[in-house]
């Protein structure tokens, strides 16, 4: 099967609704199918990467743990919206995964350069 480059842009926080979880499921499936998947964390999606999540009391899976599996699924291209991390006062050390920080211009070019772009 031929491969296309897929950019998945996440914009929603974990737990409050299912959007982030369903986008991650899609990323893992596409990667398991051998697709070339890049993930971009924008807006509240940055909270997915916070190490300190403990969702036991709300009986949810820990989405930080699931995010930490991304490299195991060969999803190594992980990008973080620069502006978002600044306004949320989140530093790289607080994140479960390292990512490349990108600005708005770079994001626009990433959208242009991928074959398929899905935003959740």
């Amino acid at each position: 099967m031929q491969s296309k480059s897929i950019l998945l842009i996440l914009s929603h926080a974990p737990y409050g609704d299912t959007r982030a979880k369903e986008a991650l499921d899609l990323a893992l499936t596409a990667a398991a199918f051998g697709q070339d998947v890049s993930l971009l964390f924008t807006q509240d999606a940055l909270y997915l990467l916070l190490k300190s999540q403990q969702p036991q009391a709300i009986e949810q899976k820990n989405l930080a743990n699931i995010c930490s599996a991304l490299p195991m699924y060969d999803i190594d291209k992980i990008y973080i919206e620069n502006n978002t991390s600044q306004t949320k006062h989140i530093t790289a050390e607080q994140l479960i995964l390292p990512g490349v920080f990108v600005n708005h211009n770079q994001i626009a070019l990433m959208i242009r350069d991928h074959d398929v772009v899905l935003r959740f």
Binding site: M1, S3, R19, D25, T29, A30, V116, L118, F120
Partner: protein, 130 residues
């Protein structure tokens, strides 16, 4: 041109499932191919045959069903998203020992891999969101 459609908006709490329907009708009318329609997230409720809107209001389940039957469309409903929301076909109802089922052809429960495949096969994948 080969299109696929990803619907992510709520079946009954957003306009998106209907916008997608109009887009599908138009691309078919223009002679393009619709490889697959993939229902994900809250849009999976579209597949419930038990929806009974007032007779003078839009019946989104029926609209997609008729279009699919006319054009032999592949309507795939994400099985994981559907099962957890109680949208279930006969085979899955048996497997999970549930007392009833509420969806059937032309709606078909299948995995997210079908969306992956549609992304590769199609020239355009168009999303209709929440």
């Amino acid at each position: 041109m080969i299109f696929s459609i990803l619907i992510y908006g709520s079946a009954h709490n957003s306009q998106s499932v209907h916008t997608a329907y109009r887009f599908a009708k138009s691309l078919l009318a223009a002679g393009h191919t619709l490889h697959r329609v993939f229902f994900y997230g809250e849009s999976v409720y579209t597949a419930s045959a038990l929806c009974a809107p007032p007779r003078d209001e839009q019946d989104i389940h029926q609209l997609w069903k008729s279009l699919a039957e006319t054009h032999q469309l592949d309507l795939v409903v994400c099985i994981a998203a559907a099962l957890k929301r109680g949208v279930i076909d006969q085979a899955e109802a048996q497997r999970h020992e549930k007392p009833a089922f509420n969806t059937h052809a032309p709606y078909e429960l299948s995995g997210l891999g079908q969306l992956s495949e549609a992304a590769i096969i199609s020239d355009r994948l168009v999303t209709f969101g929440a």
